[in-house]
Amino acid sequence: MSDAPILDVRNLSVRFRTEGGEVPAVNELSFTLGRGETLAVVGESGSGKSVTSLALMRLLPKDAAVAVTGQALLEGRDLLSIPEAEMRRLRGGAISMVFQEPMTSLNPTTPIGEQVAEAVRLHRGMDGRAAREEAVRLLDLVGIPAARQRLDDYPHHLSGGMRQRVMIAMALSCDPSVLIADEPTTALDVTIQAQILDLLRRLQERTGMAMVFITHNLGVVAEIADRVLVMYGGRAVEQAPLRPLFSRPLMPYTAGLLRSVPRMELAGRRAGPLPAIPGNVPDPRHMPPGCVFHPRCGHHQPGRCDAAAPVLEPADEAREVRCLRWRELAA
């Protein structure tokens, strides 16, 4: 991952203008994604991770209510400023997306084969027959049994896991260089979750695509990520490779998230419920002053953490952290 990143996001900000005033959903977010790399974006609901993914795909409502600023360079082209027609050609082509809700994300009145073939026809200029053959190949690739016989099935014929496979087949139909997966396994049973993660990993090995994997589930992160970006209150609060982050989290929020994950090796020793992070995610309309996490932080110092806002600073060559006290806490 030494060569130029395939996706380079710089200072991405998203603000919603609502009746109650302007709401910052994503704040000066920057990250890079190397070729073939998987970046997990982690955070609680409302941390801005889904908004980030929709902003990158330019799928947020196109009106005065949403202001997106910053840059997102996909192989040098800024996804946020290219003309809509060009973006449309990239969408589902060079950059594609898998959504959380397999039950509602497929068109209920169109056979699945047609839905996969549509993307192939649009981006690869295949005619109907060839696109249909390609749809068979893709559905087969994502592990749909007897794919040829299922082409004319409607989404409601399929289980949630099978529908998510169809979604993945659609997303991969044009060999994307970046796949954004927004909680693709959250709505599925645990066993199906594992199958889908396994499928994504195998497909990634095969095609060499990079992945932005959005999830709130650290167990899933451990399964799939190379690097992790932790988001809180619309900001990046820590960024690190997987192993170091899990073994030695620098930001108290990350540490809190990790403590709230059930672990096999601890199951015998620890009694009582898992320690959840107390409190709730902040209301984006009324962000706390200073460090946005301080009201929930066990290490916060009055007069310091609620006064000055920390910046995202490099902790070592591969890590970044946004905390005023990380050095003291690490020591």
């Binding site: 919603f16 609502t18 009746e19 109650g20 947020l60 409502p61 005065a64 959380q100 909680e183 709130h216």
Partner: protein, 287 residues
């Protein structure tokens, strides 16, 4: 995670403004029409029944008769006002009857459920199969036409929607905790209905009532136009149109004016009802 994006700032404000404006327009028009129809005749130098053969078919704005005269030389404005009294009164009273019946049937059906509720609601379905104008005319033809009978008949043919609304409301409210709690505490059926359920069902009922006034005015005009409603010489907006078709070529205002009055009144009630729905019942809010 689900993403909820609040709607753009400008759009709902504009929408609410527009809705509000329409509802305000409706309310103001209703008030003006009511006042005009009930007070106007006292201020007017003409009587709606005075026949003036020398002054037949005077066009509007041509002389002392502001809105002209009809085929018997009667002042159109006076007739419109007196007709408006009748039409508005029919609208309100027929609505009241329809609401009373509908609320009663709906409350009983929703509260008791079971076979009685099912039977009542299937009966509602059956009555709704009859196009209301067919039903109304068939009934109107059976009785001697008049103000009272037309009010009762319109009321008798427009309670079904309300019954459905109330039944649905009562049924869903009954399943909520507080009604169950009241039942456990030994409150009587009547007490639960009056104190717990009715206040919760008020919003959709008010909306339905407003829209039903519009409907009743429209139905009265249909039946009277066809000759089975309000009988001359008592004027109503509907029966004023009854003869107008004959004079369409020579005196089109005879047809145009009462129709405009009906349209204005009905539109106003519909605007008001729509605005009330927006304001009172967030679940039914139109987008």
């Amino acid at each position: 995670m689900s993403l909820t994006i609040t709607r753009p700032l400008a759009a709902p404000a504009f929408r609410r403004f527009r809705r509000h404006r329409l509802a305000a327009f409706g309310a103001a028009t209703i008030l003006l029409l009511t006042l005009g129809c009930f007070l106007g005749p006292f201020l007017l130098p003409f009587d709606d029944t005075t026949i003036d053969i020398m002054n037949r078919f005077a066009p509007p704005l041509s002389g002392v008769h502001v809105l002209g005269t009809d085929e018997l030389g009667r002042d159109m404005l006076a007739r419109l006002m007196m007709g408006g009294r009748v039409s508005l009164m029919v609208g309100f009273t027929a609505m009241a009857i329809g609401m009373a019946v509908g609320i009663l049937v709906g409350a009983v059906a929703g509260f008791h459920g079971g076979w009685l509720g099912a039977a009542l609601m299937r009966f509602v379905d059956a009555v709704l199969c009859f196009p209301s104008i067919f039903l109304l005319l068939a009934l109107a033809a059976l009785v001697s036409p008049g103000l009272l009978s037309i009010i009762i008949l319109i009321g008798a043919t427009s309670w079904m929607d309300v019954a459905r609304i109330v039944e649905g409301q009562v049924k869903s409210l009954r399943e909520r905790d507080f009604a169950v709690a009241a039942e456990v505490l030994g409150a009587s059926d009547a007490r639960i209905i009056v104190h717990e359920l009715v206040p919760n069902a008020v919003a959709p009922i008010v909306v339905a009532a407003t829209l039903n006034v519009a409907r009743a005015i429209l139905l009265e005009s249909y039946v009277s136009f066809l000759g089975y409603g309000i009988q001359p010489p008592v004027p109503s907006w509907g029966n004023m149109l009854n003869n107008a078709q004959i004079y369409l070529t020579s005196a089109p205002w005879l047809a145009i004016l009462p129709g405009l009055a009906i349209t204005l009144a009905v539109t106003s009630f519909n605007f008001l009802g729509d605005g009330l729905r927006d304001a009172l019942d967030p679940r039914m809010r139109a987008r």
